[in-house]
């Protein structure tokens, strides 16, 4: 294994972590707002608040970790992606900032208003949409390199069906992941009505999630044939992922083993996410940037990997403690205690 591969694997793993925890967060915000809109807020709010409150800040860190890490391991990405993403990334970060800050203002500061609940719900859709555009851009075809620098062709980007399919996939995946997780969480909390409602959402959103995912593979055939053929070579990984998907839907449908269902879902996304990543190899930005020509020097790479291992040694026990105290603490999950400052 080369240093380049270790570097990109570490980053991809953290991005996967972000996709899962952020999806739960984004989806939860949306379901909360939607239930308020439908006048059913009493069913979901308690569950969602209890899950989100202690962990919201942690979610953000996964993202920061990814973008700081990628500039560390692959400094050339700062030049290419830094230049072309000025507008989309700025919009994404402004939405994230409003969402994060107003979450804290309402949860800890007692600022209560329907407006904020809707704001929180809608940003939960806009953020994944704006962030997913980066994946589309990485497929190539939207960036031009001229003498004065690199430029993004917005017109081509926003008229491409690929862009919009990836946006739809990101939204469907967010809502599906979130609903499956929250079904399990509500069930742990022994909250019957919330479990039923979330279970229904999970089943509804499973369909568009799998349909758009398949559709994107087909669209890539026309957009980036090289990537498409590498994807097809990995068909068996996607097949395993699909079997796990069927397993999740089966368990949720039969009202059985919600915890296992969420485990299968994590596996499904893990395999699909890595299969996509492997087929993207070696390009970070097709065809300008590969992991080899953008890689940092060896001394820095080794230092970063050592720092990463040391950091992980610190983080994993802390994350375990966080989960044990809140996610796996019966009294807390069932809302019997709060202990907020």
């Amino acid at each position: 294994m080369t240093l380049e591969i270790i570097g990109i694997s570490v980053l991809w793993l953290f991005l996967f972590g972000y996709v899962i925890v952020a999806s739960i967060d984004f989806g939860a915000g949306f379901f909360n707002a939607y239930s308020l809109f439908r006048g059913k807020q009493h069913i979901l709010t308690g569950i969602i608040q209890r899950y989100l409150s202690p962990v919201w800040e942690v979610t953000n860190v996964f993202l920061v970790f990814f973008f700081v890490g990628i500039v560390g391991f692959f400094p050339k990405t700062a030049y290419y992606y830094g230049t072309i993403l000025l507008v989309p990334a700025s919009i994404g970060v402004v939405l994230l900032a409003i969402r994060g800050a107003y979450y804290a203002f309402t949860t800890y500061g007692g600022l209560e208003h329907k407006r904020y609940t809707y704001l929180y719900g809608l940003t939960g859709l806009f953020i994944p949409a704006s962030l997913s555009i980066v994946l589309t851009i990485s497929e190539g075809g939207f960036v031009e390199e001229t003498a004065s620098g690199v430029e993004l062709d917005y017109w081509a980007l926003f008229t491409s069906p690929l862009t919009w399919s990836i946006v739809v996939l990101s939204l469907a995946a967010v809502l599906y992941i979130s609903a499956v997780f929250l079904t399990w969480y509500a069930n742990k909390a022994q909250d019957e009505p919330a479990t039923e409602l979330l279970r229904k959402y999970a089943l509804i959103w499973s369909v568009p999630a799998i349909v758009t995912a398949t559709g994107i593979i087909v669209e890539l055939k026309g957009h980036n044939p090289e990537h498409y053929s590498r994807l097809v070579d990995l068909w068996w990984l996607f097949a395993i992922s699909f079997i796990l998907f069927v397993g999740t839907v089966y368990l949720i449908g039969k009202r059985k083993a919600y915890g296992v269902a969420f485990g299968l879902l994590t596996g499904q996304f893990f395999i699909a996410f890595f299969a996509y990543g492997i087929s993207h190899y070696p390009y970070l930005l097709y065809p300008f940037l590969s992991i080899y020509d953008s890689f940092t020097n060896e001394a820095m790479a080794v230092a970063l990997i050592i720092a990463f291992i040391a950091g992980l040694g610190l983080l994993l026990p802390s994350l375990y403690l966080l989960l044990r105290l809140f996610l796996f603490n019966k009294d807390y999950v069932q809302g019997k205690r709060n202990d907020h400052a």
Binding site: E57, G72, P75, K76, G82, L86, V87, Y103, G110, L111
Partner: protein, 448 residues
């Protein structure tokens, strides 16, 4: 938009983001230490007031930390978005502390969540206090790592530049650059100092607004003591910073002190104005600059005449520097007189006007923080990486920076209003007297 405009707007946007972020970042670094001291005192003295102090500070802290986190995310991304050429170069040499900062931040975020939601969970309160240590350590180390990156921009080392190529890169050497010790120490000490004075300011304000509760008096005395200790530390470190500048960035020191010609036994120019290159109405302390720079009244101090015209920072940094130092001195004196006054039972420190001065001290300390950062950043001009890369060569070529400036200005406005409204409402609604009475009732309920 030409590239000159991109450079200009990139500079304005970075300055805006940093100036806004630093308010919340400073509080975010300093307050956990204050909470820790208060909670520890409360446990040790078995004093409910200190515990409640820690509890109420924590609640306010969460709000400021939220804004700190999101604006920190913004500046983290903006480094790559606005200065892609700089990050491409710097990423090769100084990525390590940036990367480690995310771990420190991660660590802090996890334990802050835990600390916040376990206030009454443990029988033994010391266990709960233990959970705060990673928060305080994580917060301070975030500052350490980020300041290391800034120090590197001032005194880059740990690599060789051969024909435009970076070779012999040593990330550790880059981290431990000559600017690092004084810069890191100065940032930490002033963050603790400013946080203490901001909290003192709130305590003094409550006392002025009619609440005569002993709780506020305890809070005021505690924070003034902490503020005094760290303002003295900041002054001592400031002296070392002067010696660092004289050795490694003489043009920054010379510009800040309006020291135009290299000579021995240099005087320190305080205040004054610059009129057509002539210093007017200034206070000159003989030999003081030589002492500050080299601890020797006759030592030679390098002047601006040794540098090419286009490598000299703007001379207005003198005002920034003087402003920062004056506020620092003033706060040291104010807190020294207060602490001495409590011990010696001087009555004037309890007068309204003295309390108003303390109230003013909080915002004033924050102004000093801003002046200090403007001085640090403008004083490095025209370089983004001193001696290696100029700011004008580092900025993005994108033409939409002006729009992004408006977008972020709007964001910061929303966040500033939101956090102010929430913080004021939070503490006005739930007064200390009210909360103490509530907790008393709660306890009685438990015993019954």
């Amino acid at each position: 938009m030409g590239n000159e405009e991109s450079v200009f707007f990139s500079r304005v946007l970075t300055e805006l983001t940093l100036s806004f972020h630093i308010i919340y970042a400073t509080i975010g670094v300093g307050i956990p230490l204050m909470i820790m001291i208060a909670q520890w005192l409360g446990i040790k003295k078995q004093d409910e007031h200190y515990i409640l102090l820690a509890r109420r500070w924590t609640r306010g802290f969460v709000i400021t930390v939220a804004v700190g986190v999101v604006t920190g995310t913004a500046i983290g991304l903006q480094l790559s978005l606005l200065w892609p050429n700089f990050m491409e170069l710097a990423g090769n040499v100084i990525a390590l502390p940036l990367f480690m900062e995310t771990f420190a931040f991660f660590f802090e975020a996890i334990f802050l969540g835990i600390y916040l939601y376990t206030w009454d969970r443990f029988e033994n309160q010391k266990k709960h206090l233990l959970l705060l240590i990673p928060v305080a350590v994580g917060a301070s180390f975030s500052a350490v790592f980020i300041t290391i990156v800034n120090a590197f921009m001032n005194a880059p080392q740990g690599f060789d530049l051969v024909n435009g190529q970076l070779v012999n890169i040593n990330p550790i050497l880059a981290m431990f650059n000559p600017a690092m010790p004084t810069k890191v120490a100065h940032v930490l000490a002033t963050a603790y100092m400013t946080s203490a004075f901001v909290l003192a300011s709130i305590g003094a304000y409550r006392l002025l607004k009619g609440s005569d509760h002993i709780y506020h008096k305890k809070a005021l005395f505690l924070t003034m003591k902490i503020g005094l200790i760290f303002s003295i530390a900041a002054a001592v470190i400031g002296d070392f910073s002067g010696k660092y500048l004289a050795e490694y960035q003489p043009e920054k020191l010379a510009a800040a002190e309006w020291h135009f010609e290299t000579h021995e036994g240099a005087p320190l120019v305080l205040y004054g104005v610059l009129d057509d290159g002539e210093v007017k109405y200034a206070l000159e302390i003989p030999y003081a600059l030589s002492i500050l720079a080299h601890s020797n009244p006759n030592a030679e101090v390098i002047g601006l005449n040794e540098f090419p015209e286009d490598e000299i920072p703007p001379l207005y940094i003198h005002y920034l520097f003087d402003g920062m130092v004056t506020i620092g001195m003033w706060m040291t004196a104010l807190s020294l007189v207060y602490v001495a006054g409590v011990w010696m039972k001087w009555s004037f420190i309890r007068t309204r006007w003295y309390r108003w001065l303390i109230v003013l001290g909080g915002p004033l300390s924050m102004v000093a923080i801003e002046l200090g950062w403007w001085f640090a950043e403008v004083g490095r001009q025209p370089w983004i990486l001193r001696g290696i890369m100029k700011v004008e060569d580092a900025a993005t070529t994108s033409g939409q920076v002006d729009l992004m400036l408006l977008l972020f200005a709007g964001l910061y406005l929303i966040l500033a209003i939101g956090s102010t409204v929430v913080l004021t409402r939070m503490f006005r609604k739930n007064t200390v007297e009210q909360e103490l009475a509530d907790r008393e009732l709660e306890k009685e309920g438990e015993f019954r």
